[in-house]
Symmetry: C2
Subunit: 379 residues, 2 copies
Amino acid sequence: MAPHKLCMIPGPIEFHEDVLAAMGTPATSHVDPNFIPVFGESIEMVRKVVLSEKAQPFIVSGSGTLGWDMMVNLIEAGDEVLVINTGYFGDHFAECLEVYGAKITHLRAPVGGRPSNDEIKQAVAGKKYKMVTVTHVDTSTGVLSDIKSVAEIVKANSPETLVVVDGVCSVGSEEIRFDEWNLDVVITGSQKGLGVPPGLSIVIASPHAIEVFKSRKTPVPSYYSNWNKWIPIMNAYESRKPAYFATPAVQLIYALHSSLKRITSQPMENVFDKHRQVASNFRKTVQDLGFKLLAHTEEGAANGMTAIWLPEGITIPQVVPSLATKGVQIAGGLHKDCAPKYIRIGHMGISVMEDERGHIQKVIESFKQTFTELGYIKA
Amino acid sequence: MAPHKLCMIPGPIEFHEDVLAAMGTPATSHVDPNFIPVFGESIEMVRKVVLSEKAQPFIVSGSGTLGWDMMVNLIEAGDEVLVINTGYFGDHFAECLEVYGAKITHLRAPVGGRPSNDEIKQAVAGKKYKMVTVTHVDTSTGVLSDIKSVAEIVKANSPETLVVVDGVCSVGSEEIRFDEWNLDVVITGSQKGLGVPPGLSIVIASPHAIEVFKSRKTPVPSYYSNWNKWIPIMNAYESRKPAYFATPAVQLIYALHSSLKRITSQPMENVFDKHRQVASNFRKTVQDLGFKLLAHTEEGAANGMTAIWLPEGITIPQVVPSLATKGVQIAGGLHKDCAPKYIRIGHMGISVMEDERGHIQKVIESFKQTFTELGYIKA
């Protein structure tokens, strides 16, 4: 790989050499007999990553944001939606759903927190919701939601209600048991835990979600996001047949195939555990250095990224460029209430799974060095 | 480049080594100071390819089909649209516009033909249209539309009417003079004349189109395709500033930048002329061998691809796999009325511009060999 700054933002993450090589696959027809099984197997492996036997994956050219748009298939004008909101991405997912006629109720928590199970119970008891959305990891705050409990609470109250997980910053780095936990939709992108350059929107839908989609009363008011267009394509490629609605991003799908093969070559439990362990050590290291995290609790902190408050008087322009000169790219804040006051560091994918790369070590060393130079850490 | 079948379908086309190398760019943040000018310059170069000074380009993660979807920004329920229809892509563009409430009138031609200027004059005289769409090259038939005349006729009749060109199979291989010809929208994808792997939707809008968009009476009924979201992003990157709505496909944009630099390093006239010359020679060669083209006339035949009728009694499964074993991938038919009866061959991008690669020669030799083996050409 060419020398470059380590990309340790909460996505895009560092990519494996094999993934980058797959990106350079020479021109290949989207209906080439060599490509068809690559696409088909990728669909199957997406299911494995979220531990599902029966869900319907969609792999479509687009960004993670397109996954929100695909909820147009499940929403009809006037539908009530509860948004369990832990930051920027909850706000904007809601904005997207409103475009398609959803009536939104936000259940918010203070920055760094997440609504408690009791608050969620109370919220779903008060109204019949068509859909409850939850951001698994809000990339703006590094808060991890307890999606297992959310689904339990929602389904206990109303089994028909759709549980929709924004997993853009969690698929591949957080435990997700799609079937066992009774989830209906998980939305993600290629560039985070899945370890593939940005450009693929990946959505996974339960049989119940597909049923709700099929029994909707009004036509889907979208062309590009319409599952009626995409289901036949996914079914065809999974049956190792070509089909056409839009030209798939052939090279990105080769790259996805390469990364998913690596990820699914071991039990997903290993992947979840390793991310948990590295994240826990990382949090301890920065806390031992005197830093405070945005996430209020250990169990409410993401395992693929960490958001860290800057010490009083230290600003992002003093920190992010300093780490960049040391060869490490991190990110500034994103939450509208406090963006200038914190930084975000990603720890996902090969940077976590392959210790021998020394990525996490390099981040910690550069981090220490920067804050030593700034006089915050005593050398 | 790894040895592979030459991809001589009408897109994806063969990619330059530098473009494939750019696809393998290591992980780079979408707000990295190195990436920002790459995106900004790409926006500027898109304008150059269509010879515009003032149009607004959009470069968005998605397939070419997403470009149709973006017409949701210009269409309001009940708007009248004339579709100048030369094949499969006219039918489906119309289907997309109908989802957004357009009332469609088709002006069709027999397979291989295109509506005459008189027919177009008559059609636009009969009704006031909000939009007239024309497929510059219908990939299903290889028919080239005369978009200059279409725009002249439409604007002479009604200057406010939007002229929307589906240029998926024409941008980079056909002459397009966006400003001079008074076009309002050109839609394309990355994987054809622009010579970049699939995964980018590229749309170019005139100031008039942006004005129509801004003065619409109803909100845009789409989230992902909404220009209100994308205009600030394009403006920011073009001003060499980062901005966020959805993570851009960083590696594909590096690849686009590489390809656009090569294309725009010479006057676009060279690119147009070379495609015309190679296409004309190619048509003559196959016609001299006794084949008939779908396109009824020379001036109505595309310069980036050719659709060729199979001789009576010869079928696609006899031809396409035979060329594949000779190292050349071509495509079967696509038009619903006659798909099994013809083949399609692409001649765009580096295969045309760089004679020394010998791609066209290899296609012709393999083509001759296949039809000699089938007994159609006497050795």
